[in-house]
């Protein structure tokens, strides 16, 4: 690269960093104060884009930007008041499920309101040209963005440091319960922070319009990027978010400038993994105060009562008898449900009793699937051998990744699991010769004696029963009690001689092992496997299943997997706007049944 090329790529990196910072700043604020993992932040960004696009013909681009931002901010305040406020006392993470439902609803709303086509916005009047820098043309609008990033940073800094409201926000970020105890009105504070965060997301979206078209796919893309920036910077730290955005923006620009554009597929996750391993609270983050209050109390996990066990045995017997009634599609759907049930139970094992949130559990599902596929296709292994070996492919990855992950806590841990999952994904996605690249592996069919739908259904059912029984048994063995002790009170557990990290690490590996089993079964039931099996949406699906079922119940994940898979199958057939329908169902369940489906039919209540 010549000197002028270095300068220009540096400027490109700055422009990218500014865009990233705007959307990440709002997310960081919201998380810092309310602890809500706001999946819908990208959707608010998307709404900002569409709103600006709709306003632009009437008021011009420059007016459409603040108006769109205000509109999205108002929507944020509304969402907080009508929905999220009801969930603060609910078990932790339920808000995550609610925001996921919002993602689905907003996406279908945008489709309904603005149609399916990608809409390329206007250029910014007055800044539509380019200026000469070092002999090349550089967009004026990018220069504007480069200046805007630090300006917004300065404004936020002043707001947080120089106003009373800012002091309260910082107090709540540091220790929310303490701030509440000292008489800070949490309701108003949360509502205002959520509105400001939403406003920043809307602003980021509107300002992006001259650079990229408004599309329906941008919501999840942006929210993942924004989370990465927020976590690298340190949750709740605005300067940290700026620094992280700068780091990511520049690294990406120079990867492209130096001709290593393939690396940009997952470079931010590599950076995030490196930062989290070296600095577990992000670049400028701080160890948050432990959660107290009603949301933090986890009810003790009771073994299922006799009645529940009998009911479950009845369900299992019914499933065994089902092929007598049908040999058709019901078995295909149930095979899928059983596979995802194993996956959800394994994730629950990690999240519930293990207390380790994971955003990247699909990695182990996918590695199991690819392990089975590669053994069958490349090594010519018999099917049963491939299926039995698949979980160990996943478990060995969990062994390595888990070692790093258990050193972290909370959302940092979750984001590190995501980073590892994305790194695995990007390798699988690009290694054409070995993993088949983006097309994946084709032609992974079960052995002849298992190829009938009924036979394969029985295999999956047996695997699901065995895996579930095995994981539940572990939970009520001394290992499980020690694991939960470590979750509820790491200090006390350590003091009585439990090696908390070792237990967490073991739980991580077991969860990976069973997810791998689910993946292997999945591969043989579909006949092929592609990188989607270990991509973010699969991890999110798993989370939704566990949370729908109830993270603090034992059988919840089974119901969650069944309901979510069945919903996706049947609603997609019946409704054009099926995503919105699923979103509405989830919202309803969240509000009516905050404990999850599993709380309807639970084990012995703790006294």
């Amino acid at each position: 690269m010549s000197g002028s090329a270095v300068l220009l790529q540096f400027l490109n990196g700055l422009a990218g960093a500014s865009s990233l910072f705007l959307v990440a700043a709002g997310l960081s604020l919201i998380f810092g104060v309310t602890r809500i993992v706001n999946f819908a932040h990208g959707s608010l960004f998307m709404l900002g884009m569409y709103a600006a696009l709709a306003l632009e013909p009437h008021v011009g681009f420059w007016w459409s930007v603040p108006l769109a931002a205000l509109a999205v901010g108002a929507l944020g305040a509304l969402l907080e008041a009508l929905l999220l406020r009801r969930l603060y006392a609910a078990p932790e993470l339920l808000q995550l499920l609610a925001t996921f439902a919002l993602v689905l609803l907003i996406k279908d709303f945008a489709l309904w309101a603005w149609g399916p086509e990608d809409l390329l916005g206007p250029r910014a009047p007055g800044l539509d040209g380019a200026v000469r820098i070092a002999g090349s043309r550089f967009p004026e609008y990018d220069l504007f963005l480069i200046a805007l990033g630090p300006l917004v940073l300065g404004a936020l800094w002043a707001l947080l440091r120089r106003t009373r409201w800012g002091i309260l926000v910082r107090a709540a970020t540091q220790d929310r319960e303490m701030a509440g105890a000292l008489g800070v009105d949490e309701r108003r504070l949360f509502a205002s922070v959520f509105a400001l965060g939403a406003l920043l997301a809307g602003l980021g979206g509107a300002l992006q319009l001259p650079r990229e078209p408004a599309t329906l796919a941008i919501d999840l893309q942006i929210v993942v990027d924004a989370f990465v920036v927020v976590v690298i910077g340190g949750l709740g730290s605005i300067p940290g978010a700026f620094l992280a955005a700068l780091l990511i923006g520049e690294i990406k620009a120079f990867c492209i400038g130096l001709g290593y554009s393939e690396f940009t597929l997952a470079i931010e996750f590599v950076v995030m993994a490196a930062v989290l391993v070296l600095r577990p609270w992000g670049l400028l983050g701080r160890l948050p105060a432990p959660r107290r209050g009603p949301g933090a109390l986890e009810p003790p996990l009771a073994p299922p009562s006799r009645a529940v066990l009998l009911a479950l045995a009845g369900v299992a017997a019914g499933l065994c008898a089902l092929p007598l009634a049908t040999g058709g599609y019901a078995l295909v759907l149930l095979t899928d449900i059983l596979v995802f049930a194993i996956f959800a139970v394994s994730l629950h094992f990690l999240m519930g009793p293990g207390g380790m949130l994971s955003f990247g559990h699909a990695a182990y599902f996918g590695l199991g699937a690819y392990g089975a596929g590669l053994l069958t296709l490349k090594a010519g292994a018999p099917m049963m051998l491939a299926l039995l070996a698949a979980p160990f492919a996943a478990a060995s990855a969990a062994l390595v990744f888990g070692w790093f992950c258990v050193r972290l806590q909370g959302v940092y841990l979750a984001m590190l699991t995501l980073a590892f999952a994305q790194i695995v994904w990007s390798v699988v996605y690009q290694w054409n010769a070995f993993t088949g690249g983006s097309n994946g592996l084709i032609g992974i069919w079960p052995a002849a004696w298992l190829s009938a739908r009924t036979a394969y259904y029985y295999l999956t059912l047996a695997a699901c029963l065995a895996a579930t029984a095995c994981m539940w048994r572990m939970l009520f063995a001394p290992f499980g009690y020690a694991l939960r002790a470590g979750r509820d009170s790491p200090l006390r557990a350590g003091a009585i001689g439990i090696d908390v990290r070792a237990h967490q690490w073991a739980a991580f590996v077991f969860a990976g092992l069973f997810a791998g089993l689910a993946g292997g079964l999945y591969a043989f039931s579909k006949g092929s496997i592609s990188p989607e099996a270990l991509a973010v949406p699969r991890s999110v699906d798993g989370l939704v299943m566990v949370l729908l079922g109830g993270v603090h119940t034992l059988i919840g994940p089974l119901w969650g997997a069944a309901l979510f898979t069945w919903l996706q199958d049947s609603v997609a057939r019946g409704f054009d706007y099926w995503r919105a329908v699923i979103g509405a169902v989830i919202l309803l369940l969240v509000l009516v049944l905050p404990g999850g489906l599993g709380s309807l039919l639970r084990g012995r209540r703790a006294p």
Partner: protein, 392 residues
């Protein structure tokens, strides 16, 4: 229990023969709505026309359409539902290559005819080709080969390449480099950029390409990536001195979004719907506009022709038996809005072609000018190469 199962099997087998030809259609309507809504309108029009004319092989056509969720795993489940519950005679559809390949693989396992309408991947008829799978749209290889004659005429030496980082972009790039190098051995490839699909960092990519000072650029970007690339390239003046060849950019689905940003002079493959004046296209366009009050896109032609292909195969076979349909489809010649096509017996690829031309702006809209129809039959590797790829 075995007797019970046998009885059940018997019951399904002796179901009264349906008096329809039932097509199970599945596609990623929610993931690629911009391409697939016109596609749906296309096949609906064909369905209505065929049934108004009395159907095919003495039967009415019926289409059961499903959203395949956009992932191979979901698509396979949806296809199983169409096979097992809806008892369809033929599967049709899919858009993304990996979804198409997964369904093709299932079709082979379940022994049902699958007409892959949209997927572009070469593998679906070559490396992973199977007896039960046929593909309509011109493949990545074919569309790349269609641009080669124009690329050669320019005698440009320094080429830069930009492609979305997944199989379509990779194989377009590989085919382009191979074909160009064969015909023009002194060609040099001076830069290669592979941004992630849907997430191009356009400013940095344009800058990096300009830095390599290429005479020409070959791009297989589309949709969002294409729009961002075009806008940045226009602002930064990349296209002033560099001629660009871009697969698919002339398809209305992608071209129409560019409006006044449409870069003049680009060589593209596409579909100049307003300009094609052959009688068969005029008839199709008029019928489509009358039915939908909208103009046809590339997807409309694909959906329309896919249904006619199934109907024509059934007519030729005089039956809806899968094996007879396969034999009838092999070597089937039929008219389409683009003219006559042939379903090649050797690899189950149709010879449907595409239009090659240059982009221009007309009243703030992108159009294709100086176009020619590139017949898909012409842009194929030798039979020997294909047999080797299909391992036959």
């Amino acid at each position: 229990m075995r007797t019970l199962i046998a009885l059940l099997l018997l019951a399904t087998a002796t179901n009264a023969p349906s008096q329809t030809l039932k097509i199970g259609e599945l596609n990623s309507y929610k993931v690629f709505p911009a391409f697939l809504e016109p596609y749906k309108k296309g096949w609906q029009l064909a369905l209505e026309e065929i049934n108004a004319a009395g159907g095919a092989a003495g039967r009415k056509l019926e289409i059961v359409s499903r959203d395949d969720g956009g992932t191979p795993g979901d698509a396979v489940r949806v296809a199983e539902e169409l096979i097992a519950r809806e008892k369809v005679d033929v599967l049709m559809g899919t858009f993304a290559s990996h979804v198409g390949l997964a369904v093709a693989n299932l079709a082979n396992q379940r022994k049902i005819l699958f007409l892959a309408a949209e997927p572009l991947t070469d593998k679906i008829v070559w490396e992973n080709g199977n007896r039960y799978t046929f593909r309509l749209r011109p493949s990545t290889y074919m569309q790349t080969a269609m641009l080669i004659p124009e690329a050669l005429k320019l005698k440009k030496k320094r080429w830069a390449i930009v492609y979305p980082n997944y199989e379509y972009g990779q194989s377009a790039t590989a085919s382009f480099k191979k074909l160009l190098k064969q015909a023009q051995p002194d060609v040099e490839f001076v830069a290669e950029q592979a941004p992630p699909l849907g997430k191009i960092d356009a400013g940095a990519v344009v800058q990096a390409l300009a830095e390599a000072k290429p005479d020409a650029i070959f791009s297989s970007l589309f949709a969002v990536d294409l729009q961002k690339f075009v806008r940045e390239g226009n602002t930064r003046g990349l296209f002033k001195s560099t001629v660009v060849f871009n697969l698919l950019a002339g398809e209305p689905e992608y071209l129409d979004t560019l409006k006044d940003e449409t870069p003049e002079g680009w060589w593209v493959t596409g579909y100049p719907w307003s300009e094609i004046d052959t009688p068969e296209h005029r008839r199709f366009r008029d019928a489509y506009q009358k039915r939908w009050n909208d103009y046809p896109r590339q997807g409309s032609v694909v959906g329309y022709t896919a249904v006619y292909s199934v109907a024509n195969a059934a007519k030729r076979a005089g039956s809806i038996d899968t094996e007879k349909l396969i034999e009838a489809l092999k070597g089937l010649q039929m008219p389409t809005p683009f003219g006559q096509i042939l379903w090649r017996p050797i690899d189950h690829q149709s010879t449907m072609g595409a239009y090659v031309g240059q982009l221009a702006q007309k009243a703030g809209r992108g159009v294709m000018v100086d176009w020619r129809y590139a017949d898909g039959a012409t842009y194929q590797p030798s039979d020997r190469e294909i047999r080797a790829l299909r391992k036959e």
